[in-house]
């Protein structure tokens, strides 16, 4: 998704005008509120006028009389730390006391649109990057107004005022932000503000603990699944019996028998299943378990992954649509070559919080509470299904227990379904997907096959690289198709190959796009999840073929990409690359650029009695200018674990259209006992922040694979790893 729009370069001096910003004079002295001017600044909201009270939804920043600074976070918080990093951007320029900063998740509103993508959304590892100028400007504007208020009160020139930790001072006089907020709210909007240069940052770049941690260690943090009748009177819980195959329809079902079960209040037929609504989860689940549904399977998917893998492998032997134009004939003249096929399965996101959505429809108004990565899309879908005007939908963003892309669905599947149930049942409803529903619910990272023919010339230089990718498009058929599919090539299917930083002679890449009838979706790091594996294990194979050290081999192809080179070098240095290891251990390396950042991992492994053991992971990241080093480190650690789970275990299979996995016993993930230490180093420098949440995932599986290859000489090209095969 990162290639949709380029992030603009940052001017140091911002000149916001009345067209861009609106300073809202709050009613009855409720403090200073800074928002964006809806009526002029954003064409999507031409008809809306800003509210004027402290609780108005269209503010980025509120400073209350007690000095509390509340930042509305326009992105979803689902682990990546935006409830801390985004307020840091505001606070850096504002000069407030960071201990008085609170963060709240903003509801759906046009002013919270992603500055590059034009809709409110969280994805592509862009939350900090797209907010970088915007939120610092908000902070600087507020500071300027507070200082002006102090200067007027004291009848001094504003240039004599200093701001420190939420206090303005000048020649012995002193006032807190809280004391100045009402007066500041009456002042005109500053015509321009000067943003700090990086060397003057006092908060940005400093390790800063998460603001959302206290509520997450005492159970008080309210996730979407935690809505209760206390928040929404008469709230019911709904469970849905989804079709056993994607697209199958309900023929008939035993509504009468189910509606008699104690606690069950409604049984509702949906376009794709049957919902049982009850007074509690357990009542609704008891009802659902009693459902007997006859399905029309003719309309459903017959996808079968065993058949698909052969079909995909056959297709991979023929060229597809050109994604990167090179010289495919060069392969005929190489001195040495490797031909390899790679197979990557469907993957479920399997976030800890199962999907859920709460909806209350009252008259022509529809209110939604949901952990959404796509607020604009989801609010629009809710309006359509509820049959109410779009402005009558209020979508409240709830913190989410993970998401990894699943909550950014162009079809808004779990929101649409909840609105449909609430409308048909006529009561407020919280849908809760069971783990099995979530695992079997589709929208997976698609299955892919890659085939690479690559070769070296007599000087052991890469002279040919023919790369064919086979798999379905995530984007085709969605509203994003016009932006992201060009000449039949979905950019997300080939990212990481078509734009590889390696300077490889004659590299030629093509794509076959399939339509298997299984819903696909972005999954933490999107196309890079599979492309990095093929690229980085083939680079390793070619290094071995050339008899050159894998790090040295890569360096030769990265001379035009100093960031990638520096990140590779930092990881290698920190991991003591090239030094001796205890007997039975080996290292592997991989580096990959994605979402504007670069991550390299060096992994140490051993295999004992058929068991793979990871001893140490050393990671380096270049993510541009670092806002919160604690967040960066945590996200690299997180991306590593997420990628490891997929490499070691992750596999969704289908037989006759039915998903064969259901829960964490047959879709295992990494647990604590398997977890090696992860040491993260950050490449310093960078003028602006780049992606952090995703870039650590792509290189971890190939780094482990390359370590296994170094140890055993065996190359794993099918994911997840068949570790048992290694001890044979």
């Amino acid at each position: 998704m990162e290639k949709l729009f380029a992030i603009p370069k940052a001017p140091i001096v911002k000149k916001p005008s009345r067209r861009d910003f609106l300073k809202v004079s709050a009613v009855a002295g409720s403090g200073l509120v800074i928002g964006f001017n809806l009526s002029l600044g954003n064409k999507m909201a031409a008809a809306q006028a800003p509210a004027t009270d402290l609780n108005q939804p269209n503010a980025f920043l509120k400073i209350a009389r007690d000095g509390t600074v509340t930042v509305q976070v326009k992105h979803l918080e689902f682990g990546q730390g935006v409830m801390t990093s985004l307020p840091m951007l505001v606070a850096e320029e504002l000069g407030c006391d960071f201990t008085k900063v609170r963060s709240e998740l903003a509801p759906a509103a046009p002013i919270y649109a992603h500055t590059a993508f034009g809709m409110q959304m969280t994805g592509g590892s862009t939350s900090v990057a797209n907010s970088w100028d915007q939120l610092r400007t908000v902070g600087a504007m507020a500071r300027t107004m507070l200082v002006s208020a102090a200067a007027q009160r004291w009848k001094v020139d504003a240039s004599t005022c200093r701001v420190n930790n939420g206090v303005v001072t000048s020649a012995g006089k002193r006032a807190t932000f809280g004391e100045l907020a009402d007066a500041a709210a009456k002042l005109p909007t500053p015509k321009n503000v000067v943003l700090k240069v990086a060397k003057d940052f006092t908060l940005i770049g400093k390790p800063t603990r998460r603001l959302d941690a206290p509520a997450k260690v005492n159970g008080s943090a309210r996730f979407g699944i935690d809505m209760t009748p206390t928040q929404i009177p008469n709230l019911h819980t709904a469970l849905i019996a989804h079709a056993p195959t994607f697209g199958a329809k309900v023929k008939k079902f035993n509504a009468d028998k189910v509606s008699g079960i104690p606690g069950v209040t409604h049984v509702v037929q949906l376009s794709h299943g049957v919902a049982v609504v009850g007074k509690s989860f357990w009542a609704a689940k008891t009802g659902r378990d009693a459902l007997q549904i006859e399905w029309d399977l003719e309309a459903g998917s017959k996808a079968d992954t065993v058949k698909m893998r052969q079909a995909y492998r056959d297709m991979a032997k023929t060229p597809g649509l050109v994604a990167k134009k090179g010289n495919p004939d060069a392969f005929k003249t190489v001195a040495k070559s490797v031909v390899a096929e790679y197979e990557m399965p469907y993957l479920a996101h399997a976030a800890m919080e199962p999907l859920n959505c709460t909806v209350a429809i009252t008259g022509d108004k529809c209110e939604v509470w949901v952990g959404s990565q796509f607020q604009t899309v989801d609010a629009g879908a809710a309006a359509t299904i509820a049959g109410v005007p779009p402005q009558n939908v209020k979508l409240n963003t709830m913190i989410a227990g993970g998401g990894f892309g699943r909550r950014a669905n162009p079809t808004s599947d779990y929101i649409v379904e909840a609105v449909e149930i609430a409308k048909k049942a006529g009561v407020p409803v919280k849908t809760v997907w069971t783990r099995e529903d979530d695992m079997k619910g589709g929208y997976y990272r698609p299955m892919y096959v890659h085939r690479i023919e690559a070769g070296l010339d007599a000087a052991n230089k890469i002279a040919a690289w023919n790369h064919t990718i086979v798999g379905q498009s995530i984007i085709a058929g969605t509203a994003f198709e016009g932006f992201m599919v060009k000449d039949g090539v979905d950019a997300t299917s080939v990212e990481g190959v078509a734009d590889t930083p390696y300077d490889i002679a004659n590299m030629h890449a093509t794509l076959h796009t399939t339509k298997p009838g299984v819903p696909g979706l972005w999954w933490r790091s999107v196309g890079h999840t599979h492309t990095a594996y093929a690229m980085e294990t083939m680079m390793d194979d070619l290094a071995a073929l050339a008899g050159i050290d894998p790090v040295a081999f890569r360096r030769a192809y990265l001379t035009k990409h100093p960031r990638v080179l520096a990140t590779l070098n930092l990881a290698a240095q920190k991991a003591n690359w090239g030094t001796a290891l205890p007997k039975g251990r080996a290292r592997g390396v991989a580096v990959h650029e994605s979402f504007g950042s670069v991550v390299a991992h060096v992994v140490e492994v051993s295999i004992d009695k058929g068991e793979l053991k990871l001893h140490r992971i050393v990671s380096a990241i270049d993510c541009g200018l670092v806002v919160n080093p604690l967040t960066v480190t945590a996200q690299v650690e997180s991306a590593v674990v997420y990628g490891l789970s997929a490499a070691l275990y992750g596999k969704i299979t289908l037989k006759d259209g039915v998903v064969e996995q259901s829960n964490y016993h047959d879709y295992p993930v990494v647990r604590m006992a398997e977890m090696p230490p992860v040491e993260v180093s950050i490449v310093p420098g960078g003028a602006r922040p780049t992606g952090v949440g995703e870039p650590g995932t792509p290189p971890i599986a190939p780094a482990v694979s390359n370590a296994i290859f170094a140890l055993t000489g065996k190359r794993l090209r099918t994911l997840p790893f068949d570790v048992v095969s290694l001890s044979a």
Partner: protein
């Protein structure tokens, strides 16, 4: 009718005795800090203490805890060990999405109540039933050691004071 004690309060209920404790806590008592993750005791998100033992509430029918004392994440901070664990979690900046952390903290508190200085292997044994998809495992381990009286592994400096020239 089932009688039990939840967070120090005596409660009687006539819910279906097969109702899992998890859903009684979440739906009947609206104690939503205890999370649903798998319903099969595979992920540990629903971990509570039953008479001090870490138990997966999602597979514990309420009838089986009659007469027993249930402690949930909402009050674990009132015990000295629970408070230490929560403080260590904040010091080590453990949480990410946070959804699994109630269960992690309940498992860790139960571990430290029985074993004041657990080894790495003992931590693995006690905590490997708790899944974290954000991958906070290494920080969970560090926080447990910190709560047990060790030193913080990745100390976070408090936010620096800020000065801005107007």
């Amino acid at each position: 009718m089932v009688l039990l004690t939840v967070n120090g309060e005596r409660i009687s209920t006539n819910v279906d005795p097969s109702t899992p404790l998890l859903w009684f806590l979440r739906d009947n008592l609206q104690l939503t800090g205890t999370k649903y993750g798998c319903g099969m005791a595979l992920c540990g998100a629903c971990t509570v203490h039953v008479n001090g033992e870490a138990v997966r509430a999602c597979v514990t029918p309420i009838a089986t805890v009659a007469g027993k004392k249930i402690t949930t994440i909402e009050v674990i901070g009132k015990s000295p060990i629970g408070k230490k664990v929560q403080d260590a979690w904040i010091a080590e900046d453990v949480v990410q999405c946070g959804y699994c952390q109630s269960g992690q903290i309940m498992s860790a508190s139960a571990l430290l109540t029985k074993n004041a200085a657990p080894s790495d292997a003992q931590i693995d044994a006690a905590m490997s039933g708790n899944i974290c998809r954000c991958g906070t495992y290494n920080r969970v381990r560090s926080a447990i050691k910190l709560a047990a009286g060790g030193k913080a592994k990745s100390p976070a400096k408090p936010a620096a004071k800020k000065t801005a020239k107007a």
